[in-house]
Amino acid sequence: MNILINGEPTTTSAETLTMLLEQNGFANTTIATAVNSTFVPQGQRETYSLKEGDQIEVLAPMQGG
């Protein structure tokens, strides 16, 4: 299916958010996720089913003022 990860068009076979993150280099990283502008907590990623057109945001700590 076709989705967006941080705004980048991506084709994936991943069925869940956890699978998607593992396939894209985010295993064992400190991140937070949102799908279609809604926060998806870490505990729900394993069961969160992706669908065509989903917009996934993967955020990590960054410098801030």
Binding site: N6, G7, N24, G25, F26, T29, T30, I31, A32, T33, A34, S37, T38, F39, P41, Q42, E57, V58, L59, A60, P61, M62, Q63, G64, G65
Partner: protein
Amino acid sequence: MREFYGTKLSNALMLGTAQYPSPAILADAFKRSGAGVATVSLRRESGADKEGQDFWALIRKLGVHVLPNTAGCHTVKEAVTTAQMAREVFGTAWIKLEVIGEEDTLHPDTFALVEAARILSEDGFQVFPYTTDDLVVAERLLRAGCEVLMPWGSPIGSGQGLNNVFGLRAMRAHFPDTPLVVDAGLGLPSQAAQVMELGFDAVLLNTAVAKAGDPAAMAEAFSLAVNAGQLAATADPMEPRDMAAPSTPVIGKAFLS
């Protein structure tokens, strides 16, 4: 020093982590300042570069309290979602709530700010709202659940100092029991000292240190200024007066004319 949501800080300086020339200089600035709080943010991560992971490792080594922000958010939904994500990533209920309403001045959208503060407070967040010196907004923020207020000194990154000393003094007088932090706009240590002399509880700054020619030295200068201002506030400053009053006693002065 007042407590911030039950946390007593050893130092009244809160320091941002953005715009430093290098990670090593950032760490040095924190070391020399003794700042007890570091503000941080969240941004998109690349699975290839993983820049955020290195940054997070650096911050954890500083051994300071982390205050995540919602910088760049313009709506209630954006700010609330960012705060939820920040709580999970940083493992803290603290959130520096920014909802920007105007691009040139980065003036907060105070209507959206109050609404976001209410939602987040009800969800267990401990909100540090980036606001103005508007007393009505401040009152609404407290009613929304905030236990700390963070009025700006002047626009973020401007280095203008305190644009409305009267407003800040009024805020201190109106909310004597609320921890108050001046957040944003400071450019010089003397301005930070003035904030503390007004009886504020802390200052939060970033650009003035990060963009100095020697950020670590400037961080230490701010720390000294904050401590001086804090000490002065507790020393009960004299009241200013319009006319001169000789400090040298006139009794016993020789008659020589």
